[in-house]
Symmetry: C2
């Protein structure tokens, strides 16, 4: 199997192209910049699936007027430490950062801030939001619900999204610990890669349309489902399922967004759910002021100790030992910020298509 061919672009160039694409639809410059910053961070951190690889999807949704380019984002209910935000069907890449900002501001005022968001769309990587919190010495939380892809344990069909959770803790001399995980066993992107390479997938990732375990990626793609983290009852599949439900409640039931199988899709070609039980998809952001709990310097000193302690764990055979959550993404960022972002040819073609249809230069 040959390596996949890629073309490498400086991240600034991709970021500028994304920004102009968003502006093309009348999204104000500052908001277009915000949205392109979220995509750019994803590409820099090596999460290729959530960066400019998704720009054409956003383009489609904006072009078909499925996303509002000039939303009036507003707080619909509020307390000193909480808020419910209506994103007015705006880009999640704009609604998300603004709602996160509300959570962070509340944390600085009353110790913590918690914001549930409805009527929004796909918000990029969960990790972006907690990294923004780190910049303000806050512990950030970020969750979103997503289109159905995952079966609840003992279910035979897609009912839940991959519903990620991200949280981050700052270090002093050590880099921050950045935890960012989807609540399913394996990402849908891995199923697609196996499909393209005509390879089998491991046990524990997916079921077919009848609910049987499958090693065939095509059987998952064609009406099957991903399995929750833990995979089966024996290995704790009820736990991943529980976590996915938790995220769905905090993001959607709490805000008045659609949940479970009724969560709208983020791409045109995906099926629109038959019922609507709320508005758009939902996010949940939290921020906690470290200083409200403990001296921040003491906290960070302990974080450094924690990281060094974990790194000193005796390694399992055939490994270099545990890594710290966030390490792989930071390593990708340090390379890609200098060397650029490698894009596979289908993504390059998509960007060229946007260029052709908008007149924004790209080569």
């Amino acid at each position: 199997m040959p390596e996949v061919e890629t073309i490498t672009y400086p991240h600034e160039k991709l970021s500028e192209f994304s920004k102009l694409t968003f502006q093309h639809f009348g999204i104000p410059e500052k908001e277009a910049e915000l949205a392109s910053e979220v995509l750019s961070m994803s590409d820099l951190r090596g999460i290729d699936s959530h960066g400019v690889a998704r720009l054409h999807t956003y383009f489609d949704m904006l072009e078909k007027e499925r996303i509002n380019p000039v939303p009036k984002i507003k707080i619909v209910r509020e307390s000193a430490s909480t808020a419910t935000v209506d994103g007015d069907n705006g880009l999640g890449l704009v609604v998300g950062p603004k709602a996160n900002e509300i959570a962070m501001n509340k944390a600085q005022e009353v110790g913590s801030g918690w914001v549930s968001v409805r009527n929004t769309n796909h918000y990029g990587i969960a990790g972006y939001y907690v990294i923004k919190a780190l910049e303000r010495d806050l512990i950030g939380w970020s969750m979103t619900n997503t289109t159905k892809l995952v079966a609840p344990l003992w279910g035979a069909e897609r009912m839940l999204g991959t519903n990620p959770i991200a949280v981050a803790f700052p270090g002093k001399k050590e880099p921050p610990i950045i935890i960012d995980l989807a609540t399913c066993a394996a990402a849908y992107g891995k199923i697609e890669i196996a499909h393209r390479k005509e390879q089998m997938i491991p046990e524990g990732w997916a079921i077919d349309s009848e609910g049987n375990n499958t090693n065939d990626p095509d059987k998952m793609i064609n009406g099957g489902a991903l399995l929750p983290l833990g995979s089966d009852r024996e290995k704790g599949g009820h736990k991943g399922y529980g976590l996915a439900v938790m995220v769905d409640f905090l993001c959607a039931v709490l805000s008045g967004a659609n949940w479970g199988p009724f969560t709208p899709p983020f791409a045109l070609q995906q099926e629109i759910p038959k019922r609507s039980v709320g508005k758009g998809i939902g996010h949940f952001f939290g921020a906690m002021k470290i200083d409200a709990f403990i001296d921040p310097d003491e906290f960070k000193t302990q974080t450094d100790d924690y990281i060094q302690t974990l790194r000193a764990t005796s390694p399992a055979p055939g490994t270099d030992g545990p890594i710290i959550p966030g390490d792989p993404e930071r390593e990708a960022e340090s390379i890609r910020s200098k060397q650029g972002i490698p894009l596979v040819l289908p993504v390059v073609e998509e960007l060229r298509d946007i260029s052709k249809r908008t007149g924004i230069p790209f080569d």
Copy 2:
């Protein structure tokens, strides 16, 4: 293999015995009542490992003066929506409920309350605390760190606790959704059961003292470790590891308790860590006022719809379909509150031993 022999006791009787045992050490009546309520809920809900089966452990720790029977529990740092509590080395079964109360009161005042607790001990089942929040129309969160038992992904030794997370959401006509999960693949109790029955354990539960996967429960028990939820890299073991670290940070690094491999044991026979990096173990409680986000009646109506939707999922072959988190425990409670709590003989023997040594009647 014969079924395990049990003797059944009314839960009120066990609860009274626990209360008197705690009072025997000078714990004030109200606090002894609180502690026995936590144990009793565990027994009623079918979580045998965390109920009176642990009373002898608490007895030992109190007798050896490793736990303070009359702690001065105090808030050491506070903001409108947060607090850090020092449990003065009291029973976790007393410190936990009191700290949870602080979180709930703050939620009622400013929309949410978040309390990190240090210098405390084992607090019973995580679920107890979120059930208390439900009684006040709050969404409760509960976490605790625990003695090391779990290896981080790619580690060959115990570095983290089983660090549970519980969250609950109220329904209207439907019962609440109660999510309560340890962040490891399988409970240590299951390893012990396999050991007693001389059975092998499934792949994905544990490693031996060299860090190799093992199916032998004895190899886990003798210096091996449990695996995090997700088990291995392929099935998301880095995710369970990340969640365990998250719980440890919120409970211990944020409060100034011991974390990771330095978390003190809850039983006498367990090894005392070589280093101390804080005070006691740590808990984390959260409470969110539903009314601060959305009309509570609307929320509960949606919860009912959510539950009915999940129950209508087409079932995987050989199953009755997905269950709702909290279902098994509620079913156990409805049976046991009428029929009593079945205790295995070794637990009965432990209670008789307490009776003999304290003079509190038990038969």
